[in-house]
Symmetry: C2
Subunit: 256 residues, 2 copies
DNA sequence: CGATAAGTTGATTCGCATCAACTATTGTGG
DNA sequence: CCACAATAGTTGATGCGAATCAACTTATCG
């Protein structure tokens, strides 16, 4: 087992009861009135744990459940041709993994556990019922998928327009912000189930080149990164270098 | 004016009355019952035309309208730092341009006309009313944004995993399929408001390299492309070479 | 404490950018 | 209508960013 120890500190399950996780997540986007809150708490959920590399959702016909990361990390991976695998999204605690599954027939990607990972499943019927009766919640759920798309666009822009060093800086800036939002950064440091080698499938660079680029960021005093621990010494400088817009994950809804 | 003549043949406004466009577009996703159909037809819309390069939607605070391309083409463009502009989406007739705008406060991109372009605006209040009263329509609208995200993921994968020639093949395969879906391909040929030079901001390659890659595709007998006219001689071979999954935009499905 | 995997360094090759010239096409005004 | 201007497309030469192959060091785990 060369995993990071157990499920990382970045877990909510310790502090938040199962039924309160979803309302908590959505309340970060917009105020929930008591009825909405109750509707969410009442959703039946099933919690599962996965070992590193396990497939949480397979590519192909969409499952009749959607899920949410409770602890750890999962990756959305797409096949490109036969041989190549590309990561198209990273999910950390509080992120919906495949909310879109309940509206699509077929998923173009798999979801796999990166390190140990705990997720909460919600049946599509229950979600459909929410969309039938609770318009405001529907809009908030919809918004979650829009934020997903927003991140996709940012990755796409980074992929087209940045070179290795900047691009790694961009990814680390994003993870820094996202881990900050769930309270998992202390003194500029966070732990996550990614190592340098993982950037090979994430960004498409060889491990050799990833390493040289990471060294450059280190040499400039912007970051440290050993194994699963990342420290961002100068978030602003790093964001600037990487053309990362720190506001791009501001999450509040326009839909009341 | 070095535009493609007037609004291209790829227009629906000639054959479909304004109020019927939106129901027509959504009915491609799933059956509409008469009430849903009526609700859509009743939406007040405003039609506008833009010249090449005109900004249809500016980056920044989200507008209180969303829009749909009726004729021509529009591009979603993002700023990366000060200088670089990246295209993150292409919209052709029948595509929603910024349906997500009505749920987000702030747009991370602009939308500009590529060639002459006709769009239909729908006020956010009207959309919000639809989401309040018509759950099935809401799911279909939501699904439009999910397909958008699906295309983003395909672009991202292509951008990370393919080289210039394949990547251009990928884009042309996608456009071929999308234009086919709106009935704008005849004998493998379609016209569009993009030229080779436009791939510079679309894919991030220099025009020199774009040209050499296009020539390679031509030399292999896969395509022809002069100015605004593209012919795909062997869609299957091209898709295969480009690792393009031709199924990825098939839209119809079961219960929504 | 040995085995395995992550990280590091160097040498070579290749894809693509860049700069520069040139041709072909389209559009414009006299 | 023709001559010219402007833009799209084409070709060549050179340099840099990143892949690849290979060897090696360091950390981790059983």
């Amino acid at each position: 087992m060369r995993l990071i120890e157990a499920i990382p500190a970045t877990t909510w399950s310790a502090t938040v009861p199962t039924s309160e996780l979803l309302p908590l997540v959505l309340s970060k986007r917009d105020r929930l009135d008591p009825e909405d809150h109750a509707a969410l708490s009442a959703l039946p959920v099933r919690t599962e744990r996965y070992e590193h590399g396990a497939t949480i959702i397979p590519q192909g016909p969409a499952p009749n459940e959607s899920c949410l990361v409770v602890a750890g990390m999962s990756l959305r991976t797409q096949q490109l041709g036969q041989s190549r695998t590309i990561v198209s999204a990273i999910h950390i605690p509080g992120d919906f993994v495949d909310l879109h599954a309940f509206l699509l027939d077929e998923l173009d990607h798999s979801v796999v556990a990166q390190g140990r990972c705990e997720v909460q499943f919600i049946h599509s019927d229950a979600l459909r019922e929410v969309t039938r009766t609770r318009p405001h919640l529907t809009r908030l759920l919809w918004m979650s998928t829009l934020i997903d798309a927003k991140i996709h666009r940012a990755w796409l822009a980074a992929s087209v327009g940045l070179r290795a060093t900047e691009r790694i800086g961009h990814l680390l800036s994003e993870l820094f912000v996202r881990y900050q939002l769930i309270g998992a950064v202390r003194d500029g440091t966070f732990r996550m189930p990614l190592e340098q080698k993982d950037l090979e499938s994430l960004l498409g660079y060889s491990k050799t080149h990833v390493n040289r680029s990471v060294q450059e960021l280190r040499a400039r005093g912007l970051i440290d990164w050993e194994r699963n621990t990342v420290t961002v010494h100068q978030p602003d400088t790093l964001a600037d270098l990487s053309k990362f817009d720190p506001k791009y994950l501001e999450l509040r809804s326009a839909a009341r």
